[in-house]
């Protein structure tokens, strides 16, 4: 009876710690976004929907990060990490329209070729994806070893 009570307390403590960690990570990520946005703000005047695009990305990314953090210590953490990496890949491809970004402002057409940036971001995201898969495999391995012992 006393063990059950202790376990419950331990679980609550663990969850509180995870929630705290997730909150700190989320705030930190948002602070970084806030600082970077100050540099990118001049573009938002020229590119309609740019701020919305970035904000949606940051929102979903922070959400996946918090959920992943809350699920840490379970296999679901890696699922969310994989989802995060896939989201980054998908969002970059769709929002940057394949790397050729064009817009028309009054009578002036502006074309920015971000294919190199996109390619590097894709590679890094794939690396993140591979890392999450490896982590999941490692987690399952370690779990299997503990179960056998």
């Amino acid at each position: 009876m006393a063990d059950t009570g202790n376990n419950f307390k331990k679980k609550i403590r663990n969850f509180t710690f995870k929630a705290l960690k997730a909150t700190v990570k989320g705030i930190l990520f948002y602070a970084i976004y806030f600082v970077l946005w100050m540099f990118l703000a001049p573009i938002s005047d020229m590119v309609p929907g740019f701020q919305q695009m970035i904000e949606t990305f940051v929102m979903v990314y922070i959400l996946l990060m918090i959920v992943g953090e809350l699920a840490s210590g379970t296999i679901f953490q890696y699922f969310f990490n994989v989802a995060k990496a896939l989201f980054v890949i998908g969002y970059l491809i769709f929002s940057l329209k394949g790397g050729i970004f064009g817009l028309t402002f009054q009578n002036v057409s502006l074309m920015v070729d971000l294919r190199l940036f996109l390619a590097i971001a894709m590679l890094l995201s794939l690396l993140g994806l591979a890392k999450s898969v490896l982590q999941a495999i490692n987690y399952m391995n370690e779990k299997a070893e503990y179960t056998r012992i």
Partner: protein, 259 residues
């Protein structure tokens, strides 16, 4: 297995930070690049070509060099036929550097008139395609382009020869006076000669004359030409053949019937 995974994580994070910092700073530094377009100038070369010059000053106060800076202009007529195109290329504009270039475009009016003499006599519109491209921080290609129309003013707009007035000169010849009028709608001054040949109804040449032209840009011109024709060959009807020889173009014959 944990150590290699952690190393992948560290490396990925490092490269992400580097990529984002580079991208944000490159975009941010664009606001410190200033373009200053000067007054366009026009000149006529020794081989009678019109050269448009546009001085452009680029001040790069950003964090990175600008590579492959290029300005290109294409002038075409209403049907899309390319009249001329010009391009100016600067390989590198270093950071904290100011580069002044002159973007030149050459139009050979003689070539243009070979295609369509309407440029001499009728006002029209020219389409201009302007594109500026560069590589921000030497790696991010950016291109801005625009289309606009520019009015073309004909240098001999509404060119007309009035009715010839005959006055006896001597026993064998008349002195013919023909009024000339046109409006120079062009941006350039028209300075040169006009030659005229008069043919009678049978096609025989009965006289010829020459006068100098000096019509300033965007102003009307009224003058006359005088020459002598033989009394025997003159008929009430016939044709004039007019030839223009100016500092910018040569054109002729322009056939105008009379009578």
């Amino acid at each position: 297995m944990r150590v290699p995974i952690r190393m992948i994580g560290i490396a990925t994070t490092f490269f992400w930070i580097f990529l984002i910092a580079f991208f944000v700073s490159a975009v941010y530094s664009v606001k410190d690049v200033h373009f200053d377009f000067g007054e366009p100038q026009m000149d006529v070369t020794s081989d009678n070509k019109v050269v448009f010059s546009l001085p452009v000053s680029i001040a790069n106060s950003g964090f990175y060099n600008i590579g492959s800076f290029n300005i290109s202009t294409e002038i075409s007529d209403k049907e899309g036929f390319t009249i001329t195109r010009g391009s100016t290329f600067v390989p590198v504009i270093k950071k904290n550097d100011v580069v002044t270039i002159t973007h030149n475009m050459t139009i050979d009016l003689n070539d243009l008139l070979q295609q369509d003499k309407n440029y001499l006599f009728n006002d029209t519109e020219l389409k201009i395609y302007e594109a500026v491209s560069m590589r921000i921080a030497d790696v991010i290609p950016v291109q801005a382009s625009t289309n606009f129309s520019m009015p073309w003013g004909a240098p001999l707009y509404n060119f007309t020869l009035g009715e010839p007035a005959y006055a006896p000169y001597n026993l064998t010849h008349f002195r013919v006076t023909i009024p000339i009028s046109f409006e120079n709608h062009a941006f350039f001054d028209l300075v040169g000669d006009m030659r005229i040949r008069m043919y009678n109804s049978t096609g025989a040449r009965v006289g010829r004359g020459r006068t100098s032209l000096e019509a300033y840009g965007n102003s009307p011109y009224n003058g006359f030409i005088e020459f002598y024709v033989s009394m025997t060959g003159t008929t009430p009807t016939g044709r004039f053949e007019v030839y223009f020889s100016t500092s910018i173009f040569d054109y002729g014959p322009l056939v105008i019937p009379y009578g």
